[in-house]
Amino acid sequence: MSSPHRGQRVAVVALAFALAAPIAAAHADPLVHYDVVDKAIPQSLTGVPGDPANGRKLVIDRARGNCLACHEMPIPEQDFQGTIGPDLKGVADRLTEGQLRLRVVDAKAITPDSVMPAFYRTDGLYRVADKLAGKPIFSAQEVEDVVAYLETLK
């Protein structure tokens, strides 16, 4: 978070929201507006390229993305990968960047019965723990980071 690159990003997001507190901006409501086109979000949520290395950290982190809970991914140092969702090896060959982005943002927009959490949504949720209320799982930039990581899975 303290790298100049990250600081620049936060500043951009903060400007986009016209908010004074850059730390809060990462999880602030309202969410960045996005357009769904043909079951995809073609445009970046932030305009700032995603960082695949940070994306890889987020998909592993059990307190954040925890994607490995359900999905197998080509991350050999992580044992006990989940078998609930599809194996994500080669997912970038099967889906476009925009399709990946919508799946991370809100997979239920494609498959309403999916068990996959929406990682960038705050409405329509029930009894969210107080400290997380109104906050999406990922910030807009973190969505971009995870999408950038998934794009490397070819």
């Binding site: 059990r62 490995l68 809970a69 359900c70 044992d79 006990f80 990968q81 989940g82 078998t83 609930i84 239920k108 068990v115 959490p117 929406a118 949720l125 029930y126 009894r127 969210v128 723990a129 107080d130 997380l132 906050k135 799982i137």
Partner: protein, 270 residues
């Protein structure tokens, strides 16, 4: 020719082996049969062999400590009336046999469904004139585990018709209600994904016939409501309070899902 015969024998052996395996699954030759009733599978089926062995041996099963503690409490007078449970109920091996298979159960005195823990505290308040045991206290866990243990091996058999029906419906609604930041219901994990890996865990059906259960992860024995609270927290949801109607009604629905499965209390799980 010799090879053909040998090959045929191997093939026959493999077929026979397969047949035995299939038969085992049906009849319990592998020791699992009594834990599978129709399409209902106890958590025992999903447990590691070492964990099953720990449950099966009363001298190894750490939950038996609570059974023994409950047995002591059963005959120890407590409260202003100077009575113990035994004063009214006599030998628990007789009087409590089968009782826990019917809980949670509609109680006309309070006009709603209550669970075994609440029934114990109701007895303490009315008959013993004693203070209720707090939720998740050693005493309440011990007494609940002791009483349910008197039904070990008997099929769960809760009623969900008559006056219990509206409470059952609420419990069912709760089972299917998505919750928390992760937006998952009980059904999301425990209805169609059994046997799948959630990281290092294997998803079970979420059956409740073994509660109170000794969980190796807790390093202690805990109630079903403690487990449900744990699930709620994993969903990043705001849990309900111990003893809340929401949890008791959900307990009723969960028990009904497992009607027919044998009481295993105290079960041992990961």
């Amino acid at each position: 020719m010799k090879y053909v015969i040998a090959g045929a024998m191997v093939a026959a052996g493999l077929l026979a082996h397969g047949a035995v395996r299939a038969a085992d699954a049906q009849t319990g030759g592998d020791g699992l049969g009594k834990y599978i009733v129709g399409d209902k599978r106890s958590g025992y089926v999903f447990a590691e062999p070492d964990t099953r062995a720990m449950q099966d041996d009363d001298f190894q099963n750490p939950g038996m400590v609570w059974v023994e503690a409950g047995k002591q409490l059963w005959s120890t007078p407590d409260g202003a009336a100077g009575k113990s449970c035994q004063t009214c109920h006599g030998d628990a091996a007789t009087s409590m046999k089968g009782v826990a298979t019917h809980y949670p159960k509609f109680n006309p005195r309070v006009g709603k469904v209550i669970d075994l823990e609440q029934r114990i505290d109701m007895c303490r308040a009315k008959a013993l004139q004693a203070k209720p045991y707090p939720w998740e206290s050693h005493e309440l866990l011990a007494m609940t585990t002791f009483i349910k243990n008197q039904s070990r091996g008997m099929p769960m058999n809760v009623a969900v018709d008559g006056p219990a029906a509206p409470f059952f419906e609420k419990g069912k609604e709760s089972f299917y209600r998505r919750r928390g930041q992760l937006d998952l219901s009980c059904a999301s994990c425990h209805e169609t994904l059994e046997g799948r890996h959630l990281r290092a865990d294997v998803l079970s059906q979420g059956q409740t016939n073994g509660f109170p259960t000794y969980r190796l992860g807790w390093q202690t024995l805990g109630s079903l409501q403690k487990r449900i609270k744990g699930c709620d927290k994993q969903m990043r949801a705001d849990p309900h309070a111990f003893g809340s109607d929401e949890y008791v009604n959900l307990e009723l629905y969960l028990a009904w899902r497992g009607n027919g499965l044998p009481v295993e209390t105290p079960a041992v799980r990961k």
